[in-house]
Symmetry: C2
Subunit: 762 residues, 2 copies
């Protein structure tokens, strides 16, 4: 590839980016798109933004960039949560380190590489890009020490910056902990693997155990219930009602609402779960004698146990409870909105085997992903197409068409297949059995990260089929040499990858192409009413791997092929602006890992730095420069030592909370008298609640739909019902009814709905 071609490509991509961003700055001002671009803000300040038609709306403006840059970290923490701040810090770290790398490499290494060999230099625009890589250096060159020194500087500064960020984020994490004073999840322990007993219910077992062993700090508990027959039937009714909801005659709505409302009131809440705080249950036992058997069927071997102080909850969550580590397994409960309810009723015994199975599954997926893709890409080759679909022959004979099909279709197919990766990994992560959304997303993020690094970086470098991948893996000693040979050669590809995939993905992110199209379809084609309850949360599992992959490319190419750095730096600047804007305006933070994405980013960066050093070692070896190679070895050891130090010094803070901080918080609350209020709130904090639809019927704004659509059926915000602990969710009348009668009732409900529908359409 020539420099001219690269610059053309860069120019085109920059033009496209500017175009897209201008489009965005116009589209965001259109009132019909406000839902797409300001989802989060709308949820906050409902429908205040819609203005009249003004000309200004159609003039592109950079004001959003300015606004995005003006946000402080405190604002971001307050509006988008700690994870967003961590993401932001990753971008800041990347900008800092690659600014330095760009200055050093462009002014220090690029000229050395360019004049590395005695050769006739053509005009720069038509020079081959390879002349700018280390491949152009002569063997045994005296100037390789410059590369070595630059590698030292970049590694050391990267470690130093990493350490600063690590400390900063650890501090933020503790601050975040201290500031969320009334968070009920700090007082709550999720107990799983409660042993089954014939003569007592799970609820009694939990109460007995904790009053026996943790009496001073135990407050109350709440057993998790899983979907039973009655619930399933009522859910059928819900579905029928939901269809009906589209027709909005007031009279009809009235009737309907009342019907559903009654369903809601009865013991069978609309979704898979049902809340029974221990007190209520005790109170009801005498009433619901005949349905006792049903109740027992539905109890899960899991419970929320509430404690009087945060420190007590932490202790119980960390100590091994009994002599069987598979029973009475305790962990701090996730936040209410973060709960992944449907995984709660998985027997704890299964979890370890699910972990192994999904791990194996995703490894296999990672390795054989390219097989079907290559096969289908092969099918779209011209001859194949003509053979299979003879009627296309005429069309495909045009030269332009041929170029399009052969040049474009394979990469489109690859892109489409790549789009399936995050959902697949999310599915794997769901099957793993995590108990919270954030845990699931974090696990998916790791899987997508490994997948991306393997399939973009290594497969390109090792250029190959599954067999050659495995061959590479099976001779670890040759890997440095192989990488040293391949990386400088592949640097051109990586540069164009940054241009196309990186910049393009940012443009599409800021444009929200899917959201825009879907919004348009729904509004003007389907003519549906806006449903304000769907606001996506930030897709860390697709965006974080992208950013980290570009970081990896930056590190590995920096010393070897520095021409990639300016483009990468531009990407990071743009990403900084775009993602900050998205955090503030588009995405809604429903749940938070509390900064747990940072260790992933940190590990990946250390991996990238060490990989870079290993590749450089290989390159110095190939160039027969023993001095440079010799000096690289201690650098690798020092980097690994630094890593070990960070793991000892800072990582534990991301695994648990320090006792000192929790005890201080507990004391503060006790002294200020807030503790009683917190204990009061705990009782209803983890209710297994009403469906999103029901709540919106009752006029409560909620934000809850599973944006990944994979398997979680009943989690939703239940602030409303949380504030009404008297709301009798387990109404004894319906609870006592036999299943057959209920079924009949539901059927007649469906019949009614159908009748009214017909009446409306007539």
């Amino acid at each position: 590839m020539k420099v001219g071609a690269l610059l053309t490509s860069a120019g085109i991509n920059i033009g496209l980016c500017v175009l897209f961003l201008s489009f965005y700055s116009i589209l965001r001002k259109q009132p019909q798109n406000v839902k797409v671009y300001f989802g989060r803000r709308i949820a906050e300040e409902h429908k205040r933004l819609r203005g009249a038609f003004i000309l200004e709306r159609f003039v592109p403006s950079p004001s959003w960039i300015v606004r995005s840059l003006q946000i402080t970290e405190e604002e971001m923490l307050a509006t988008a949560g700690l994870d967003a701040v961590v993401f932001n810090r990753i971008l800041v770290f990347s900008i800092r380190i690659f600014s330095l790398a760009a200055i050093l490499c462009i002014f220090g290494i690029l000229p050395l590489n360019y004049f590395g060999q005695d050769m006739h230099h053509v005009r720069i625009p038509s020079a081959s890009l390879e002349t700018f890589t280390i491949g152009n250096m002569q063997e045994k060159s005296r100037w390789l020490w410059v590369h070595c020194v630059v590698l030292y500087i970049i590694s050391c500064v990267a470690c130093f910056l990493l350490y600063l960020e690590y400390k900063h984020i650890a501090r933020l994490r503790l601050l975040h902990l201290v500031q969320t004073t009334t968070n009920p999840s700090h007082f709550t322990v999720l107990v799983r693997g409660i042993p089954k007993s014939t003569h007592e219910s799970f609820s009694t077992a939990v109460e007995n155990f904790f009053t026996k062993y943790h009496a001073p700090s135990y407050l109350s508990h709440q057993v998790v219930y899983k979907v039973g027959k009655v619930q399933k039937i009522v859910m059928g009714a819900k579905k029928a009602y939901r269809k009906f909801k589209l027709f909005k005659g007031i009279a009809v709505d009235q009737t309907c609402r009342s019907v559903t409302y009654r369903c809601c009131l009865c013991g069978v809440s609309s979704n898979s779960f049902q809340q029974l705080s221990s007190e209520e249950q005790k109170r009801e036992k005498p009433f619901v004698d005949d349905s006792n058997l049903n109740l027992h069927d539905e109890e899960c071997a899991a419970a929320f146990v509430f404690f009087k102080t945060r420190y007590a909850a932490l202790i119980v969550s960390e100590i091994l409870q009994t002599s069987n580590p598979m029973k009475w397994v305790t962990s701090l409960a996730p936040q209410r909105d973060d709960m992944y309810w449907s995984n709660l009723w998985l027997p704890y015994k299964q979890i370890w085997i699910r972990h192994i199975a999904t791990l194996l599954g995703s490894i296999v997926f990672m390795f054989i992903f390219l097989l079907p893709v290559t096969f289908i890409q092969g099918l779209t080759q011209l001859e194949q197409l003509q053979q299979r679909l003879p009627f296309l022959k005429g069309i495909l004979e045009g030269k332009y068409m041929t170029q399009l099909v052969t040049g474009y279709l394979p990469s489109v197919i690859l892109q489409i297949f790549l789009y399936t990766v995050p959902p697949t990994m999310m599915l794997f992560s769901t099957l793993e059995g995590p108990i919270s959304h954030s845990e699931r997303k974090k696990s998916a993020c790791c899987k997508v990260l490994y997948f991306t690094i393997w399939n973009v970086f290594f497969v390109n470098v090792l250029s190959g089929s599954v067999i050659s991948q495995l061959n590479a893996l099976s001779s670890p000693k040759d890997i440095p040499m192989q990488l040293a040979r391949a990386v400088p050669l592949q640097a051109t590809f990586f540069t164009t990858y940054v241009l196309t995939s990186g910049w393009a993905s940012l443009s599409s992110e800021v444009m929200q192409l899917f959201g825009l199209i879907w919004n348009f379809l729904r509004k003007y084609i389907l003519r549906r009413k806006e449903d304000s309850d769907y606001i996506p949360s930030f897709p860390y599992h697709t965006e974080l791997p992208k950013v980290l992959l570009f970081g990896l490319l930056g590190f590995t190419c920096s010393v070897l092929a520095p021409l990639i750095l300016p483009f990468l730096l531009l990407y990071f600047f743009l990403a900084y602006v775009v993602y900050r804007n998205q955090f503030i305006n588009v995405y809604c933070t429903k749940y938070d890992t509390g900064g747990l994405y940072w260790p992933i980013a940190y590990n990946t960066t250390i991996f990238s730095v060490v990989l870079t050093q290993i590749i450089c070692l290989g390159v110095f070896g190939l160039k027969e420069s023993p001095v440079a190679a010799g000096f690289t070895v201690p650098l690798i050891i020092l980097t690994l030592l630094f890593n070990q130090y960070c793991r000892k010094r800072l990582l534990p803070l991301f695994r648990t909370f320090p006792a000192q901080v929790l005890i201080d918080m507990d004391r503060d609350d006790e002294q200020s008298g807030r503790m009683d209020a917190i204990h009061q709130r705990l009782q209803s904090a983890y209710c297994q609640s009403l469906d999103a639809d029901d709540i919106s019927l009752e006029g409560v704004e909620t934000i809850s739909t599973d944006e990944d659509g994979s398997g979680s059926s009943g989690e939703s915000n239940c602030k409303e019902s949380a504030n009404q602990p008297d709301n009798d969710l387990t109404h004894p009348t319906l609870q006592g009814l036999p299943v057959n009668q209920l079924r009949r009732a539901v059927r007649s409900l469906g019949f009614m709905i159908r009748l009214q529908k017909r009446g409306l359409s007539a």
Copy 2:
């Protein structure tokens, strides 16, 4: 090697064994050896065993074998501790699994292998041993499924037995915990990394911290002190006194004792440490104003903190204390006799880097161990010797001598070098900075285990130099094939290894050759008085790796070369008898890991089983039997799943103690009113105490010397002083003296001693 040769070798070795054991049965009855063979029993029942001369003493008898077999597990647990029981269970497991393997393989596989090829069979004694290995099977043989089935049976039974043992030992561990009710280490937390402060001492810092954050359960504390100038000088005096002690005139003894006793009473205890319980210290502060600076110099950033209940201590030891994980690092304290005092004053910050350094050191040692050995072996070759030491020429020309030198010397040198391995690894483990003897021994045990498996099994199989070792490591894919080719060939060597090294090591173990010679030397040549305080503790770090190595050899050879099994089985039977005898009679259990050797043994066994399966996979591949190879793969997966299950289900019990058990124990003690007595004892449980010599002077029987002689200077039993908390160890008079005066005093003491010595000899 022919069968006849093997049988001859076996016969000779069995003969030698019988001879040694007969010797042992005679020698053990000699009163002068009672110290060697009944060290533990002597320590228990002092000097009761010595009888007069009777003829019976010189007749070999098998009674000790009977007695050794009669000991029950409870007796063993009571006398030799949990670790001994674990060791015993490992032997029982080995006997069980290899009995089964021997039956299956000798009757099932051996005939198949022998008749595997259509060949002329010579008489069995002169048949080559290779005809009994799987190498004799024809390729694509239909009978390979028998090997596969036997592999399945052995693997499944091994897993089943392992699981039973694991459960049994976990139960024993809990039982052991419950039975040691008054163990002060359960109430004690060792705090390290106490932050330095200019305006308060460590002791004040500890008190402030724990009264602030753990007030309800905090009892008291005790700062660790490290050796200072004054102490060193007094230790010099101690040494002078010790020399003098050999001359036992009563009058002299009197004087001397009083002098030393005064030394003992003063603040400067004889060894590197000094006990100051927090109360005493407070009491003394006003007296020792002028020596305050000295005191501060000697304080360590470590302290013992005592809690009111076991559960409280467990909590504090497991929870992260502050937001800096390198400060206020807590762990349950080891038992008093187990403390490795001199490592306590290492700054906690260093520990992680020491870990890495020693890890690297031992890996390097493991890989390059054979280099110098081979070099020196080369030097002893005949030509080299004759060249270097010309005067030997005459001697070496005799044919018999030549054979001896060339055939025997190299293996002697190898053996001598091998003897240096456990001390070297022990040294590495010491440098690592463990705080207890048991931890150090366990760590050394792991290192020796890896070393043994690598240098006996893999180096023999991969036959080679460092380069070929590294080559083998660098192509992991080829390892199964390489092993499959090499293991059947090496089986003969392993069989002889079991005969010579295994049986011989047992004989030398039971004979206590070193002990015997040393005892003889001391008694009859040096004419020293018996010092009853030296009784070795069991060398787990040399014996466990041996037993596990033989287990590995058994598993890997079982299906491939079953001829090894009868010899191995004999080894295990003998080991069972011998080690039980040694536990009961010879070794003294000073410290106990609480069964932590079991996870090491378990991991090694699982490794052995999986390695066997992988090798069999390779062999089936070589023999072109896709069915057998195909069926082996799921077996590997199942074994790994079983391993994972055990790690989840049972391993946590070896890492911590369950809360339930501890809380129940605490309640029992509180209800029975024992708690106050325990709290009383705690105050003096961790005194940094008097030297062994001093205590024996004061008439207390103690058992304490560092049998490895590597670096621990001052740990000893201090029951006496523990029972006298009033014993004023920090006497203000001497403490206040300036260093110069003290030095003068010591010099005059030395002078006195020399004078008295002269008077005696005159």
